[in-house]
Amino acid sequence: MQISNSVSDADNACSFQELIERTAISALGAASSQHHLSVDDYKDAELSILQHQLLQAGKYGPSSSRLVKLAPEYNTESKLIRVGGRLRHSEYLDTEENYKNRYVRVPDGHLWIEGDHRGHSLDSNCFGPVSLGLLHGRASHIIWPPNRWQRIKPSLPPNREPLAAEEDAE
């Protein structure tokens, strides 16, 4: 994954103030002409300059910073920071579970629900198991538009079978 760095070349600026100005303006991009720079914009610019300098020096910031956890590499020619890691929210990703735990046991009286469009769905991968008492109903038929009249058949998507099912104790 590539994050582009908007820090302008440090050599061209005459003072730190100018460097910050340029960085903040380039971070805003096209909106900079109509937009007065706010305190937050300057703070963000300072932060990105600091990280840029640290990366160039080979130090990747404090060990608790989230950037370090992604194993960053600084490419001096393209001035890009490359990171590795597992994306949590991305429409292009095709992983089984974007949930915080790899394996989940669904508690008693709860359901695990997922949308069919996996990358693009707000479902149990975001908010966890859902209590049965919140269940409102079951979608059984599509009635509109008329060319999509059909009975909705219950089916599990491939690869989404539960890994172990609880056997009912007699």
């Binding site: 009286g109 209590s131 008492g133 919140l134």
Partner: protein
Amino acid sequence: MFRHMLGKTLGLFGYTIQYGCIAHCAFEYIGEFVVCSGPSMEPTIVNHDVVFSERMSRHLFKIEKGDIVIAKSPFDPQMNICKRVIGLEGDKICTSSPSDLFKTHTYVPMGHVWLEGDNLRNSTDSRNYGPIPYALIRGRVCWKLWPLHSFGTMSETPMKHIIKAQRDSDSD
């Protein structure tokens, strides 16, 4: 003769459906009678008390801290629980007991409430299973109907100091 009987039966059937619908709407939107069992809300509500819980404040999202609510159990949708609301969404709740050395806190997530019974020693509530979604709440208990000697609105919570502490920590 036969048509007369048929007419009367259909009339009776019609009235039953009408009154059934009115009763259903009343129980769904106005209020219902609840028989409480269990020791978790003593001394406010004891075993076999009959209370009246009103539904409007739940539909209008007017449930507040300190209200006693009837909610569906998060682990068994056919069972109901009766507890007091200690915290609403966004509140900071102290989860450690007063005897603990280190105090732990949690924040109630969006769309959830934190429930605790008045009888803290003998109650399974949010301290055991966490905050419950607001949509599981069925109604707010407003009157106690039986036993007759304690008829009337619910007495002030014995947990007044906890509710007050919650209000103070909110205003921080």
